[in-house]
């Protein structure tokens, strides 16, 4: 993202939320239809943003169309509030949406924009999650024609996708998809849930919060409404499994920073080339750490 972008000032300042009101209305209408047709990739006219596509323009357009002065925004990139992308995106919103609060604390946020992760702590009905999507259509791997894919989706015809999945499983003897696991919404449309790990896929199911997906390059918006069935595609003989964080002794690995044994862990190598594990959700890690310190302080 180009943080030195200069705003067009020919019209006495820029609009709240950067996008003009027509662009926002179009995104808003599209969001409502996306909720009415759960999992359907609803097309819209994506506007140019002052950053390259692929930097989350689709997610940002959703956020800017949703946000108002009553909102508190949290931006996360791969679980972290502090990555360059998340910081730039947050600054962009602060600059273009005067009056909007920003936070790193999940419980304070009304709007959460994220890339690659769903927060560890369950979202609530007062929150909306916006996920950035690079590749919205799970059928691309089996059908190159978009016109034919649209009909396959509408008829919920996923037989070829299932065959492809099964072939991979037979070949590798397990489900090797680490991210973007095809997930069926409301027993009809199958979505690409964005590059979240398998760990996060169950959080889509019966979520109290609305979850929106924005693909800027492909100009698509789709939704998993609250309290909606979201099922990863599976086979009877090979059930869906989330990532396994057990070590060679069968012991669940803990975060080296906060000690959590119930979070999605990122793997790093330290200076001595020894593997260390840490919560991918940095705000969750901070929260766990603060709780421990509080308890120790009291003891």
């Amino acid at each position: 993202m180009n943080i030195h972008y200069e705003f067009p000032l020919e019209e006495a300042g820029y609009a709240f939320g950067f996008l003009d009101e027509y662009a926002k209305k179009e995104v808003r209408r599209t969001i409502l239809k996306a909720i009415c047709i759960p999992g359907y990739q609803t097309p819209y006219a994506s506007r140019e943003m002052p950053m390259g596509r692929g930097f989350g323009t689709g997610g940002l357009q959703l956020t800017l169309s949703l946000i108002g002065t009553n909102d508190t925004l949290k931006v996360i990139d791969q679980g972290s509030d502090d990555s360059v992308n998340a910081v730039n995106m947050r600054q962009f919103v602060q600059l273009t949406c005067p009056g909007v609060e920003v936070t790193e604390k999940l419980e304070e946020a009304t709007l959460i924009q994220s890339r690659h992760r769903i927060p560890e702590i369950a979202l609530t009905e007062t929150q909306v999650l916006v996920l950035q999507v690079p590749y919205p259509d799970p059928l691309v791997v089996v059908e190159s024609s978009e016109a034919r894919r649209k009909i396959m989706h509408a008829e919920a015809d996923y037989s070829r996708l299932l065959v492809k999945l099964y072939e991979d499983i037979v070949h590798f003897n397990e489900i090797t998809i680490s991210h973007r696991y095809p997930t069926r919404i409301n027993r009809h449309y199958v979505i690409d849930p964005s590059p979240i790990p398998r760990w996060d896929v169950p959080k889509l199911n019966q979520s109290p919060a609305l979850i929106l997906f924005g693909a800027g390059r492909e100009k698509k918006i789709y939704a998993v409404p609250p309290y909606t069935v979201a099922e990863p595609l599976v086979f009877d003989d090979l059930p869906f499994r989330v990532e396994d964080f057990r070590d060679e002794h069968g012991q669940r690995r803990a975060c080296t920073r906060c000690g959590a044994t119930n979070s999605f862990l990122d793997e790093y190598s330290d200076d001595n080339n020894i593997k260390i594990y840490q919560c991918s959700d940095s705000a969750y890690c901070d929260g766990q750490l603060a709780q421990h310190q509080q308890r120790e302080g009291k003891a």
Partner: protein
Amino acid sequence: MSDIQTPRASHGAWLSPMQQQIFRDLLHVFSYPGRVAECTADSMTWLALLAALTDGEVTLADPHGLIAADIWPKLEARSGTPGKATFIVADGGRIMDFQPCTGSLESPETGATLLLRVAALGEDLDGGVPLNLTGPGIQGNTELFVSGLHPSWLIARAGLAAFPLGIDLLLCDERRFAALPRTTHIEIGEML
């Protein structure tokens, strides 16, 4: 424009901060079918909702003549027939006498959004007909009470087309509104 400096100075449905608030309420009622939102703008509910949604990109049909002539330019929408328009505003108390667009397999989003004016609605309402609702956005089931809605709208809605095709309803009384997206299954109960 001074919208940025005075975000809450006016309750006018034509100002962008109010349209943002109304949109968020629309987002809420479509996300949680059957829940009722309060319209905070100082105009008729259906008109405030239209103001938040329409511009020159959409077609709007008004088969019952609810929209005053001087309002049309403000909505910016092109006038359409009830059979083709993306938005339709109608008197829900009257019998449904047209066939709205339900979209196509390739583009189910072109199924119309209908704003229906009703006498009253609420999550609890004396004299209202209970609608028992199930589907996405609803934990188990929920009830919405409506009065002044001709049953033909609900019957037609269920019979028009199979998912993903369909129409999406917004019920509006004087001050409140609720949504019935095409995914919501409705059972009409006995009036209390």
